[in-house]
Each structure stands twice: as structure tokens, then as C-alpha cells.
Amino acid sequence: MARDPVLEFTERGIYCPAGGFYVDPWHPVDRALITHGHADHARPGHSRYLSTTGAAPILRQRLGDIMLETVSYGARLRIGDALVSFHPAGHVPGSAQIRIEVAGEIWVVSGDYKTVPDGLSEPFEPVRCHSFITESTFGLPVFRWPDPAEVARDLNDWWRDSVAAGRTPVLGAYALGKAQRLLSMLDPGIGPLLTHGAIETATSVLRAQGYSLPPTVAVTPETDPRAHGGALVLAPPSALGSAWMRRFGPVSTGFASGWMMLRGVRRRRAMDRGFVLSDHADWPGLNTAVKESGAEKIFVTHGYTEVFTQWLRSRGLDADIVPTRFTGDEAQVE
């Protein structure tokens, strides 16, 4: 007898008929399981939310007074006829892949993930399954991340050199995840770390959760940059080149993203420095994750879906593109 698939791809997002819930839905639903707190995954308006304990404080901070249940990594929950558990995705602190089992058939929604440990996020954990839903943000063989230790060295060198040249280094990074990862890579021995309000908010939430982060100074209208000589400033991409930056006098701008791998993108950003650092899996990482899932069916979403699907098929895997209404600028998503 034909059964419903464990998950369906609908207008509102990924849906589990056996459990009556959605994963990272785009439109308001009754019950939403959330992989992590980034805005393209955790949207407002759902009646009930479920996330990991680690992701919850950020969800509350970003979405306000929501009805939110939490669960630890690895703990099994029964929702309707589905057995659900959350497993580390290594993307940002608290982020998860969601494992969904219905009548012995296992699907995994990986959300956003990276396979290399970043020292802050709970490291990615391969989860065996029958069907694996993978992102493909960097699903081309040109993306192969350099050793993060080398990137850390470049970052700290740039900090020192900028200060020596009389410029304040201003580093652009997404407020949740990337910013804290950078904080943990920067050497506080060089000087103070100043943060833009949006970054300070997420940082203090994570710090309160017990993630080990160096001390930071939030920049307010009263902040006198001269009182913080030799500082490095962390700001969200939107603040780079804005009036907000003027207070720091002559600056050297940097940006940390996987897209900085491409010379064309580096030049388009018109930054002084680009650092290759991503919270998504690179090409080897995607391939490893697919392999280690042991899945016989792969669904590809979010990124170079067509090419990565075709590649997996050429390797003898049963792969398909997740139909999606995603139309944003790929380069803007991180």
C-alpha cells in the first residue's frame, strides 16, 4: 500500500503529514520546528515553535513573545505519528538538523550546516537516514575553505597592520553566528573589540548562555572611539559604508564570507580586505555530509540546486531539487 512520504514540499514549506508540523516554514503555520535563528529559517507568525534549547534564547530575542517549546540535542520526541530529534548542524551556536522518523523511515532536514568545527557551535554530527535534505549554498567545486587557523592569522595581521597605518579596522559580519565566530578568532591582546548594536545583542544572548566569548564594548552614540585606541570594530554588512561608520575616522574595511573566495565578488564588495570564512559547508563538506548520511535519496535546496543535483546523479545517487519559492539574491544569504 502506498504511504504518504515522510515529508512533503508545500507552498508553506517542508511539511510532515504524520506529525502535522512544518520545518522552517515561510508562511504562518500552527506548528513550526525551527533549525536555527537566522531570519530565512525562523519567521514570525507561527502559533507554536519547537527548537533546541541552545537556539531558544535567540529565537525569543528575535521573535518576541512566542509560544516556544525546547528540546536538547539527541532527545526523542513523539509528535503525532512521527518521532523527532534535533542534532548539531555546526552552522551557528544552537543550530540543528532535524531527524524525522515515521514507521521506520528516516528523513533528515539539515537546515544550514557546516562540517568543520568552528570552536563555538556544537560540531556537526552525521545522522544516518533514508532521505537527506541538504542545502547547496556553496555547491560548486570552486568552494573549498582554507584552514580557519590561517584565516585567523590573516585577520589578526590585518588588525595590527591597520592600526599601525592609522586606520580603524571595521569588519563586516552577519550578527548571529559569523560575528561571534570572528570574536572567538580575534586576538583580544591586540586591542579592544567594539561592536555595533545588532551584533552586541546577539553576542550578549550567546554569552549569557555560556558560550565563551571575549569582552566587547557596544558602540553607542556616546562612544568616543579615541577612548578605545587600537580597536577593531565589528558591524553588520548594512552598517559598512554608512554614516554610522564615520565616527571612526579613517578605516580599513573587511568582510568575512564564503563568497570572498571569488575575486569578482571581493572586488564588487569594494572592501579593503575579504576573508574566506563561511558557516556553510564547502564543496568537500557537502559531499562528505551526503556520503555520511548514507541516504539513498537526496533532496537539494537553497543554492546551486541544479548543478549539485546533477553532480550527485552523475555519482549514481538518486537526487532531486526541492521545489522552492526562494528568489532572493544568493550572494546575500549567509
Binding site: 560548486l140 569578482g264 546551486y304 548543478v307
Partner: protein
């Protein structure tokens, strides 16, 4: 090669001119002479002979990376550069070579003409010994397209800083046909400049655009005006009984314009003229379309020579009787030029470009409106007392062009850009109305801000009607104001017209597609209004 890679990284990373000059100067001060020489050669557009085709490179790279060729091909448009794509997909090197830049250049030179197996083995081995940054440069050297955002002017400044020589003199030394194989650092840069090559041109003096009316330039009598011709800027050199024709891009064009050889019959050796090469009907320039037939042809069939003969309309005299005149004031050079060219027969391939007389700026503004009827793009203004500068120096030469034509058009196709803009839709095809149909008539890819391109890119993604490879057909909704310099009939185009230098002036968010211009509006511009 490691040092060269560091230099490249420093140049590529910085957007500040002083940083670039300092990085170059530091490199010139410490690198080996032969590496320096190659660096100057590469940065001034001199490329080695190509030893390998890009098809071979793609195939070998796919093989070395153990990837199917189609995947390499799919990655290329995202990266926007083949050399970079290949550098990125190859597995990390197993050891690092210490070979110098000139060492790699010698290896590439020796590869040319060898059988495929030998060339393949050498390239694969090179890739296995270079890190990503060096591999990218190596691939650039192999493919020969080396552009790094270092202008000749910037490089000359750095050379001057590193060697203590005068920048203008260095610029002159670097002109013309030389290659690292024919010369040495000592001969090119350091030695007394005695036995220079007879073909060597002078650096062109370039004008800045005049953005407003010339009233601020001071008294009109300090200035001379000429027509700004719509041809090819060229330098005609007559030395030692031979002649050479150089383009502004420092390309030797002697064989393309054989007519100019006859200048040797009328002018003495030791003469160098700066002027405009134009297709000429005996009295006036032919439309640019005629000259276009000559551009890009290395040899010219007799029929074409008869239909579109060229002359040089000379506007400056840089050398006379073997003497460099560039430091003399413009009026003096101009007087000498007129004397040198006076009394030449009408079939001589060189004539003086006439001066345009005027008493006050308003009178000149009125004259400028006639430029299109004379096949000119506007006027040139040159200060009476000005020397012939090397390169672009603000203040003494101005180009005062006519305002461009404009038309409001609908975007119908979009294509992603290359390089810097590989992730954005920046190349658009535009259409105007012909009855109820939209006919494409122009392509353009510049003129908007990055923020606008990003917004349009998001729009293109959600308003695609059909995809043809990298091209997307989009809903005909967005209207843009397109500027262009000229228009001509073109049976090859569906619209029957072709534009010169079309570019986007602005995004007309206020205009619905139905209010875009019509093909008739464009065709009206075809016949210049009678005088």
C-alpha cells in the same frame, strides 16, 4: 613567483593608489632584474605567445581535479574567469615550487609548439607545485589575458619612485615594441637612452571631458579649438625611411592602413604626427561605419581600399627633423605642423585638422552644435601655452563632446555579468515599440549603481519568462533611459539600426513599459537635420 604573487595580492587587495604604488615600488626595489622586466612587460599589456588553448586547459583541469567537464563549465560563469576557476577546482598542491616568474615565462616559451603530451605534462606538473594564488597567476600567464587594475600611469609612477628616474621619461621608454626577450632591465630602464628603436612612439597626451560650459577656462584667446573627430587616434612615425602607425592602445597598426605609407613621399624622416585616422571621401570624413569596415582587418583587400580609404587628420607635431618638440607650447607646435603640411597635394594621406576660429565662448558653443553634421563628436580645447603631456593631465586639454542622444527602452533579456559582477544580472537587452511588438535594438551593461543592479537582479530572478542558457527572458516591465553617441542603418539587426556606445543613464521607475519610445523615434535620428 611567490614574490610576484604577493605583489599581485597587494595590488588586488587595495583600492588606494598610494598603496598600489608603494607595493609596486617595493617589488621593483627588491625583485630580480629579469622578474622586474617581466612584471613591467605583463603590466603594460605585453603578453607571451600562447602555448596552450583554453579548451586544452579546461580538459586538463577537469582531469586533474577528477571532475566531469560539464561541472567545470558550470562553475566558470559563477567565477567569471577561467584562470581563477581552474585555480580553485584543482586539488591542493603536494609540494611548492620555488621557480621565479621569469623561470615560468621561460618554461612557457619553450612549451609553445611542442606536442600535446609534453605540454599537458608540463602544465599538470606546474599545477601540482603551485598554491591557489600562484596557480591563478600561472593560468593568467598561460592564457595571456593579464589585467590587474594597474594602469600604465600607476606603474610608471612606481617605477619612478623605485629607480629615481623621471616618470614621463620612463613612460616614453616603455612605449613601442619591446619584449623581455629582446632587451634587459638595464637597457630598458637604466641605460642612457641613445639607440632607441626607430618605431618607438611617444606617450599620447589625453584630454579630460569638459562637464560644463567652458566659461571658467579663462580668456578665449588662451585657447585653440579643433573638431573632435570620431575616428581612431593614431601616431604616425616617419624615421630612417620607414613609417609606423601606433594606436592609443599602443598597438602597431602600420599594415592595417597601407595608405599612410605615402606620407614618406611628402614628409622628411624624423617626423612624428599625432592625429585621427578617418575614412575620407576626398573632402570630408565618411561615416564611422566606413572606418569600422577597416578596423580589425590585418590586411586590406583592394576593393575596400577603394571604398573606404583612410587619411590622417593631424593635430599635433611631436617630432620634427628628429627633435622632440613635446615641451614646446602648443601654438608653436601647431604653427610648425601647419608649415610642414602646407602645400601637400590633395591626394597626400596626411592633412592638418583645421583649427576652429572663435571670438568668445558663446560663439564656440554655437559652432559646437554643428559637430554632428561634420561627422565630429564635439570639440577639443587646447591651451595655447601647453606642452604635449605624457598621459592624462587635467587642465590643458579638454574634450567638449555633444550631449548624447537618449531614448527610453524596455528591458527584455538579462544576463549575468563577468568577473566583478558574476553574481549580478548586469547585461541587458533593450527594446522599443514597433506597432504592438517590442523590437530589440541595443545591449548595455553599464551606467547603474551596484545597489540598482542588486535590486534588478532580485527582480530578474522572480520575473523570468524563459531561460536560454545564461540568458533570461524577463517580463517586459522595466524601463531605462539609454544614452548613445551615434546611430546608423544596419540591415544585420532586426530593428534595422545600430547604436554607438549605448549605455544606461538611469532606471525610469516612473515610466510604464507602454510609454517607452517607438522605433520611429529612433529612425528619425538617422538623417541628420539639414543645415
Amino acid at each position: 613567483m611567490i614574490r610576484f604573487a604577493h605583489l599581485f595580492e597587494a595590488l588586488d587587495q587595495s583600492t588606494r593608489t598610494t598603496d598600489k604604488v608603494n607595493a609596486l615600488a617595493a617589488y621593483f626595489a627588491e625583485a630580480e632584474p629579469l622578474d622586474r622586466l617581466w612584471t613591467v612587460a605583463l603590466f603594460s599589456g605585453r603578453r607571451p605567445r600562447r602555448a596552450v588553448t583554453t579548451t586544452e586547459l579546461r580538459n586538463w583541469a577537469a582531469e586533474a581535479a577528477a571532475l566531469p567537464l560539464w561541472l567545470v563549465e558550470e562553475s566558470y560563469p559563477v567565477v567569471g574567469d577561467l584562470a581563477e576557476t581552474i585555480a580553485l577546482i584543482l586539488p591542493p598542491p603536494d609540494r611548492l615550487s620555488r621557480r621565479s616568474l621569469s623561470g615560468w615565462m621561460a618554461l612557457l616559451r619553450d612549451l609553445a609548439g611542442q606536442p600535446e603530451a609534453a605540454r599537458r605534462a608540463a602544465i599538470l606538473q606546474a599545477w601540482a607545485e603551485l598554491d591557489t594564488a600562484q596557480r591563478f597567476l600561472f593560468n593568467k600567464l598561460v592564457t595571456g589575458g593579464f589585467r590587474v587594475g594597474v594602469s600604465q600611469k600607476l606603474m610608471t609612477r612606481a617605477l619612478a619612485q623605485a629607480t629615481g628616474h623621471d616618470a614621463a621619461e620612463l613612460a616614453h621608454r616603455l612605449m613601442g615594441s619591446w619584449s623581455p626577450e629582446m632587451t634587459s632591465w638595464e637597457r630598458l630602464i637604466e641605460a642612457e637612452d641613445g639607440g632607441a628603436d626607430a618605431s618607438r612612439p611617444y606617450p599620447f597626451c589625453l584630454a579630460h571631458p569638459l562637464e560644463s560650459a567652458p566659461d571658467d577656462l579663462g580668456p578665449p584667446q588662451d585657447w585653440r579649438a579643433e573638431w573632435k573627430w570620431d575616428g581612431i587616434r593614431g601616431q604616425l612615425i616617419l624615421r630612417e625611411g620607414r613609417h609606423f602607425v601606433w594606436s592609443r592602445g599602443e598597438e602597431l597598426m602600420t599594415d592595417r592602413f597601407p595608405e599612410l605609407a605615402r606620407a614618406l613621399d611628402f614628409l622628411p624622416p624624423g617626423t612624428v604626427l599625432d592625429g585621427e585616422i578617418l575614412a575620407w571621401d576626398g573632402i570630408a570624413p565618411l561615416p564611422f561605419a566606413a572606418l569600422q569596415r577597416r578596423i580589425g582587418r590585418k590586411s586590406v583587400p583592394k576593393k575596400l581600399l577603394a571604398e573606404a580609404p583612410v587619411i590622417l587628420l593631424a593635430y599635433d607635431l611631436l617630432e620634427w627633423q628628429g627633435r622632440d618638440l613635446r615641451s614646446a607650447p602648443f601654438v608653436q607646435r601647431r604653427a610648425l605642423l601647419d608649415r610642414a603640411l602646407s602645400g601637400l597635394p590633395p591626394d597626400a594621406p596626411v592633412r592638418p585638422s583645421p583649427l576652429v576660429g572663435f571670438d568668445d565662448w558663446q560663439a564656440l558653443a554655437d559652432i559646437r552644435t554643428e559637430a554632428r553634421n561634420r561627422q565630429a563628436e564635439g570639440l577639443m580645447l587646447k591651451r595655447v601655452a601647453s606642452p604635449y603631456h605624457a598621459g592624462r593631465k587635467k587642465g590643458d586639454w579638454w574634450k567638449w563632446k555633444l550631449d548624447p542622444h537618449t531614448v527610453d527602452a524596455v528591458m527584455i533579456y538579462a544576463q549575468a555579468g563577468h568577473g566583478r559582477r558574476a553574481t549580478l544580472y548586469t547585461d541587458f537587452t533593450f527594446a522599443v515599440w514597433d506597432g504592438d511588438a517590442l523590437v530589440p535594438f541595443a545591449k548595455a551593461y553599464s551606467g547603474l549603481t551596484d545597489a540598482e543592479f542588486r535590486e534588478i537582479t532580485a527582480w530578474v530572478r522572480s520575473n523570468t519568462l524563459q531561460r536560454f542558457g545564461p540568458v533570461r527572458q524577463v517580463k517586459p516591465e522595466l524601463v531605462f533611459e539609454i544614452a548613445f553617441e551615434g546611430i546608423q542603418q544596419s540591415p544585420r539587426h532586426k530593428s534595422g539600426i545600430a547604436l554607438r556606445f549605448p549605455r544606461m543613464l538611469r532606471w525610469r521607475r516612473d515610466k510604464p513599459a507602454a510609454e517607452a519610445n517607438r522605433l520611429e523615434d529612433l529612425k528619425q535620428l538617422l538623417d541628420p537635420p539639414g543645415t
